[in-house]
């Protein structure tokens, strides 16, 4: 592993020197810009409310009334309680609520959509990185060096994941800057209030955004690994890209259809959305975070082992 760094440099060079890397960057920045402009000009920005404390107090009264009237439904009650607690906290600590879009809201809103785009990009990158060596025949020169095939495959996989990290950082910076330009950098200091078990506390937006990024990346991580598996197995970039993106897109629909079956919980895509445990309800009642992590780990190990076996064992004929 002494020259693993050199292998990473090589793979990075092959990722970023391709013209597709520039196209991907432009598409990503374009989508962020488009999202920003659409949000900015489609919705009305609400007027500033000088008596916001009264408004919030009024709101809480209403919420309390409603809560009494619908008693019984635990989930709805819980969400009312949360809202009331946050409003009280704002009045108490003199934290004016920001209406409409703000810098941080924008950063948070763009996350899930853009991470889907980054998933597609990374699937393309990892599939191309593995399969194009076979398409062009460069695999013959690559594998006749004093480097084990395992190291080559690992360097390709790691460099693709580093590409994801680079994309996430770009996304964060670009959406932060655009959010600031469109909605004012004043929003940067906005308080981020969270509610947990009856208490309200202030948290950092940066940490929360990255937490959001990471949760969204679970699916990305699994699909990129899946794409690497298909590319190593069939040595065909188009197949790996197509199959992975199709599976990723179709998964949520299929999972909704299968929701009533007991065994759906063992399907990969029932477990990739971990936000079902942090906010919202799990797909099936018996599912827990630990269960999902176990299922993900099992799939991951299978993907890695099968992909590795195909890449390292098969003869190079092409």
């Amino acid at each position: 592993m002494s020259n693993f760094f050199g292998l990473l440099q090589n793979e990075n060079m092959k990722i970023y020197r391709r013209s597709s890397a520039k196209v991907m960057l432009i598409i990503m920045l374009g989508l962020i810009l488009a999202a920003g402009l659409i949000i900015k000009f489609s919705g009305d920005q609400p007027k500033d409310d000088p008596h916001w404390k009264q408004t919030l107090a009024q709101e809480n009264k209403e919420l309390n009334k409603q809560m009494v009237s619908i008693k019984g439904n635990k989930q709805v009650t819980e969400s009312f309680k949360k809202e009331i607690a946050i409003n009280e906290y704002r009045i108490e600590h003199n934290l004016k609520p920001q209406k409409g879009e703000t810098l941080w809201k924008f950063v948070d809103d763009t996350a899930s959509g853009l991470i889907m785009v980054i998933s597609i990009f990374t699937i393309i990158v990892v599939s191309t990185s593995i399969a194009s060596e076979f398409d062009t025949g460069t695999i013959k020169l690559l594998l006749t060096r004093p480097i084990y095939r395992t190291e080559i495959l690992l360097s390709k996989y790691v460099s693709a994941l580093l590409f994801t990290v680079a994309c996430l950082i770009t996304l964060f910076i670009a959406s932060w800057l655009l959010g600031g330009i469109l909605y004012g950098f004043g929003g940067a200091g906005e308080a981020h209030l969270l509610y947990d078990n009856g208490t309200v506390y202030q948290s950092s937006w940066t940490i929360d955004v990255w937490k959001n990024y990471l949760l969204n990346c679970v699916s990305l991580f699994m699909m990129v690994t899946f794409a690497a598996l298909i590319a190593s197995m069939f040595r065909n970039g188009g197949l790996a890209i197509g199959l992975s993106i199709f599976t990723m897109m179709a998964s949520s629909i299929v999972i909704t259809f299968l929701q009533k079956f007991d065994w759906v919980k063992y399907v990969l895509f029932a477990n990739t959305d971990l936000t079902q445990y942090t906010a919202g309800t799990p797909l099936r009642e018996e599912m827990t975070l630990g269960f999902s992590l176990t299922v993900l780990a099992v799939y991951y190990v299978i993907f890695v082992l099968v992909g590795w076996a195909f890449f390292t064992r098969r003869d190079i004929k092409a």
């Binding site: 292998l7 013959k140 020169l141 060096r145 004093p146 084990y148 190079i316």
Partner: protein, 312 residues
């Protein structure tokens, strides 16, 4: 070269190498040695197993049986040590077209410890690409790509150079250059070169020894000169009446002579029997204007050895 090479330890040794794919035997019990400083040619019709053998030597394919040693290191057991000694061009010189020539070389240099930027520029100079090394490979001609291919194979001072069909698609100048590099490396740096090709005349010019492969079996390893001399020579004569002359040769000496046109006959005959043929014709009043001995080409010999199978 092969004379003093016999004294050396073999730089590449194949021991009972077999390859079976799906119950079919592609390579059958291949054993031979290649020595330092010699150019060894693999010859055989398409599908005879040349490429498979070369791919097993460089570790791209696994063998089903046997072992291959490069400078004493098994390609199976000590892959890194064995392959460190090898520079290879397997079929066309495939490079990353979206990178420059220099970036391609840098890419391969990073995979082997101890290759400096100076060494990269040294091989660039050797293959005379210094003017265009910073251009993207997609703008290179095939000859330039081939030279870049040679450069990447030489970066790490290999002691064994393996070229699979190296002249594919090269123009005469490119073939000439490649031949020169190979001879230079084998003569001056004592590198063993293994070449496979179906271009027989090329092989004749390039190789010291030739191994003929047919249906996955090695049916002979000989030096090029031995190989050609073993076959009978041919004599071409300008005469006044070719048809009559051919008839006489057939009747009196029982040799089947060909008469490609009215004044030329070609007589396949051993060197020491040539005067007998001339005597016979002169006695029969055939007028002879010229006699040329035509050495059998590698191609003729090859067809003879492989039983007349086309080489394509």
């Amino acid at each position: 070269m092969s004379n003093n090479a016999e004294a050396n330890k073999p730089s590449v040794r194949l021991e009972h190498v077999s390859k079976r794919i799906g119950g079919k035997t592609i390579i059958d019990d291949l054993s031979f040695d290649i020595y330092s400083g010699e150019v060894f040619g693999f010859l055989g019709p398409n599908g005879a197993g040349k490429t498979t053998t070369i791919r097993m030597i460089v570790g791209l394919m696994r063998m089903s049986q046997g072992n291959i040693y490069i400078q004493g290191h098994s390609i199976k057991g000590e892959f890194k040590k064995a392959i460190r000694q090898v520079g290879a061009i397997v079929e066309n010189p495939e490079m990353y077209k979206f990178l420059t020539g220099y970036q391609n070389l840098l890419h391969y240099a990073r995979m082997i410890p101890g290759i400096s930027k100076d060494r990269i520029m040294e091989v660039v100079k050797l293959v005379e690409l210094q003017d265009r090394i910073h251009e993207k490979v997609k703008r290179y001609s095939l000859g330039m790509r081939q030279r870049l291919g040679v450069a990447q194979a030489l970066l790490h001072h290999p002691s064994v150079l393996i070229l699979d069909e190296p002249t594919n698609g090269l123009d005469p100048q490119g073939i000439h250059d490649l031949r020169n590099y190979m001879h230079k490396l084998s003569r001056e740096e004592n590198v063993s070169v293994i070449v496979s090709s179906h271009l027989l005349t090329e092989m004749q010019l390039m190789c010291d020894r030739i191994g003929i492969l047919q249906k996955g079996k090695l049916i002979g390893v000989e030096t090029v000169s031995e190989f050609i001399e073993k076959g009978a020579a041919k004599v071409r004569m300008q005469v006044d009446d070719a048809r009559l002359a051919a008839q006489i040769v057939k009747d009196k000496l029982s040799i089947d002579a060909a008469a490609p046109d009215e004044t030329t006959i070609e007589v396949p005959v051993d060197h020491d029997k040539i005067p007998v043929v001339i005597d016979t014709l002169v006695i029969s009043k055939i007028k002879i204007y010229s006699v040329i001995t035509v050495a059998k080409s590698l191609e003729d010999r090859f067809l003879e050895v492989t039983g007349g199978k086309s080489v394509e």
